[in-house]
Assembly symmetry: C2
Homo-oligomer: 534 residues x 2
């Protein structure tokens, strides 16, 4: 359950609350959102002129958390406690009324589906929640869903509630037709009539409501800070000082939500008013501003950002053909030396644009190739139906009408029982088209080929464990799993591979979109159990 | 001609030579080697204790060139003048006899095949000589050819003289059986009995003779400074101070030769005594030590070095499958943002090792895929013949017995008339399998496919030039070029492509290893001429 949204409580109800802090809860779950609300000045430009932070202390742990102005004289500090136990806090500000306020609260054990924020795993190439629960990324994109009407947003959330998607890329600055509300206060009716120094709290309250609702569905909100679209408004073409204020504001408001990820840019290299030094600088601003250290990435059109830079937690890529083959995808891990998500690989749809006219089969195939390459892939769809404006799930959300989502849900069920921390690529130099965990678990994928048999070889050197395996034939499109009768007892075939000399071949159905799941027989019943999940 | 090797002349013959400098020529070609020889102390350890450099000045240009000790009391400074004109010089040393020597000489215009050193082109992805002549890299590897007997080396040079190869990767530390001579002075008969602080000048004189002979053949010497082989001797496992001395010595001796490239490591990540910080440091040492700023790269086994680092001039990769498809190869340019050479892609041969058992066809195919991806590829061969020790061209040089070299020579003739600075990849996102120069010149490659026709489409948007093209069918294996009758006059086909509506298809021979060359008709005679080469 995602019920730990911030609750405004009266001072009397709090465990210990100084007078000026008019609201703060007495307890919150670990990884939940603890919020302090304070009354302060409304004069001048509080967004620009008031500094506020709170220091949170629990034992030896000390976290400085920036606050933000929420309009109408209300200031807030949001903190997501990384550990259970008692926490105390004290505020600092250049405004006397906001400074020196103190309080304390209890961070309680998480309940329900609260597994904490998603982090990159220790090996560097996969993801898991803070409590260790694996996170198998099946992403989608709805750029401006959050800026649509409440009714449309509700429809999107209903769609997501039965979808496989556990991460959603979404813009702060709308890129398609959206409700008439902006992140910045308007100063007139022209496109450029807005004040970069004044945020509109109503916009952000609404946006963070969407973040929370995604969280309640177990979906990570991959928040896009800048993009090259909507040039008329020019939100991504601000000065460096305005960009910095914006990043700090957004971080102070959103970073306490544990399902927040940061995408610094979408097609960042399409923004012609910023150069590489700007991006590097803004990442450093974000990293310094975010006490919760949420995941950070950046998405390209043509020029790959250098994902080895230290502020990048995982690599996000757009490439239209990288996941058409596991041997194309795998080297991206070598380059980034980090977890890789192909967030954009062309979309399912009927767009006249070739980036948006994949069939469901083509998109599902890309997920499978990416998966066995040890990487992650993103979905969206760009179907234009009569009567739809901005055309698609990609722009505004709403309903999914494509054929890929059920197959991606099926892939997710396969991954749910796969090894942790994730599928590792296997010998892509030699076109094995296989990922998994050596000598335990393999996925072999055939894509659009229609083989009627497969010579069953596993990579292995003479001293490696030979083992006995079961094989399942997976129809990734029709979503069936058909066990192959019996087992395969492996022995040395040559210097590089093992096979079962009595049974060297697996018969296949001669259809497209087939995968094999090869699992080590570990128990008497011949059923492999994931030792990592025991 | 490569006749500008250093000639020792008497002081009387020089234009102006101070007394202690017993030899220095009166003139040298631009990009040739100007060498000063000086007499100095033989006591102590001159390699470690004597500092020597010379400042070369021509107009506003000033270059500080480190010298080196060549044994028997002889010290040398080697300088390759980057510009024609009068140059003067003066030495600096911590030894009075070597310090304050002066002289001058004339750098004359280059003659014959002296095109200067190879540099990365301004666009960043290709190579050209300093005088602008294109350099189309067709590399090979003979790790320890230079350490073989003079007779064997002569055989290798004879082989190279009729080969297509214009770059050769070669180790300083031998990795296979070699003549019994080491870069360091031996202190006993054991593997580890050598003194890292004392170089053996005879070894280096011999090695630089090989560099010069390669230069005379127009072949770049890609010199490998460290590698993980020959662990018994442990030359690649020295201390940082010893590594630094070695790099400075090698640079002072070799960098004046204009055909020198630096490969900091071969399978660098196989050297377990060095970590990334060591490699970064050694590159910085090399960059500071080399006044000629020769090309610098590093070659991996599994862990890709971050080629965006500023001291890397071009990216060198080993990958066994990257050039099995242009869409696999092209992203390496995106990552490195520099010219890419796949120096090792498995070798032609009959090795039991799978890295050395490609057929000629398979290796030639890799060159073509790499070429149309806008990258460069390297050859070697690992054939074991009866009676050969260390088996192969790869280890010791000698004769080439594989079938790929003539086909690589054929590829080179194709590239000789291709656009400059080089072939650019075209729409790899959409599997066009095409490289060239848009609206001028295209190479379309089919690899192992055996199509009987090709739907002739060129990428283009409505406002792009339509143009008229001729087509040649290239059999890359049988080395034939067959012009297709007539021309193709292009018009819009759809939002992304052009075709000739009267002639939408090219008939193909239904064989493997076919490429098409599509050239814009520019003259009345219908023959495309490379405007870059005019």
């Amino acid at each position: 359950m995602w019920s730990r949204r911030t609750v405004m409580v009266s001072a009397a109800a709090s465990l210990a609350l100084s007078n000026a802090a008019f609201a703060a809860p007495a307890s919150v779950e670990r990884w939940g959102v603890y919020e302090i609300a304070l009354k302060g000045p409304q004069t001048g430009n509080p967004f620009d002129e008031v500094t506020l932070s709170a220091v949170f202390v629990s034992g030896a742990r000390r976290v400085v958390v920036p606050g933000f102005y929420d309009g109408e004289g209300v200031y807030r500090v949001r903190f997501s406690p990384p550990e259970t136990g008692g926490w105390s806090w004290a505020t600092q500000s250049n405004i006397r009324a906001l400074s020196g306020q103190t309080g304390r609260f209890e961070a309680t054990a998480p309940t329900g589906q609260n597994h904490g924020p998603v982090r990159v795993t220790k090996d560097g190439y996969h993801f898991a929640y803070a409590d260790g629960t694996p996170f198998r990324q099946i992403g989608t994109t709805c750029y401006a869903w959050a800026q649509q009407s409440d009714a449309k947003c509700a429809e999107t959330l209903t769609t997501l509630s039965t979808s496989p998607f556990n991460k959603l890329r979404m813009c702060i600055f709308p890129n398609v037709t959206a409700e008439s509300i902006d992140p910045f206060v308007r100063t007139g009716s022209g496109d450029r009539d807005w004040d970069a120094k004044r945020f509109d709290p109503a916009f952000f309250r609404r946006y963070e409501d969407r973040i929370r609702r995604l969280g309640a569905l177990g979906i990570e909100a991959d928040i896009i800070l800048f993009h090259p679209y909507n040039k008329a408004r020019g939100f991504s073409n601000m000065s460096r000082a305005d960009d910095e204020r914006y990043i700090r504001y957004v971080s102070a408001r959103f970073s306490a939500y544990r399902n927040v990820w940061w995408a610094m840019g979408n097609e960042y290299d399409g923004i012609k008013t910023k150069v590489m030094d700007d991006w590097d600088h803004l990442f450093q601003v974000l990293q310094a501003a975010d006490p919760h250290d949420r995941l950070r990435s950046i998405h390209n059109i043509n020029v790959y950002y250098d994902h080895r830079k230290p502020w990048i937690t995982h690599a996000s890529f757009q490439n239209g053909s990288a996941v058409l083959d596991d041997a194309r995808a795998q080297p991206y891990r070598n380059f980034a030396q980090k977890a890789v998500i192909f967030d954009e690989v062309c979309y399912e749809g009927n767009s006249v644009k070739r980036w948006g006219n994949l069939t469901g089969e083509q998109l599902v195939m890309r997920f499978w190739w990416g998966t066995i390459a040890g990487t992650y892939v993103g979905h969206s769809e760009a179907y234009s139906e009569p009567g739809r404006t901005d055309g698609s799930w990609l722009g505004q959300g709403g309903k999914l009408i494509g054929t890929s989502p059920p197959r991606l849900a099926f892939l997710k069920t396969i991954l749910d029982t796969a090894p942790t921390p994730g599928i590792e690529p296997i010998e892509t130099w030699y076109d094995k088209h296989m990922g998994g965990k050596p000598f335990e678990y393999y996925l072999r994928y055939f894509g659009a080929a229609e083989p009627t048999e497969w010579v069953f070889e596993l990579p292995g050197r003479k001293d490696d464990p030979k083992n006995t395996y079961r094989v399942d034939i997976i129809d990734t499109w029709n979503m069936t799993i058909t066990p192959v009768e019996g087992v395969f007892t492996m022995d040395i075939k040559d210097a590089y591979s093992f096979h079962d000399p009595k049974r060297p071949v697996v018969t296949l159905p001669g259809k497209k979109w087939i995968a094999l799941r090869i699992t080590r027989v570990t128990g008497k019943d011949g059923v492999w159990t994931n030792p990592d999940l025991d």
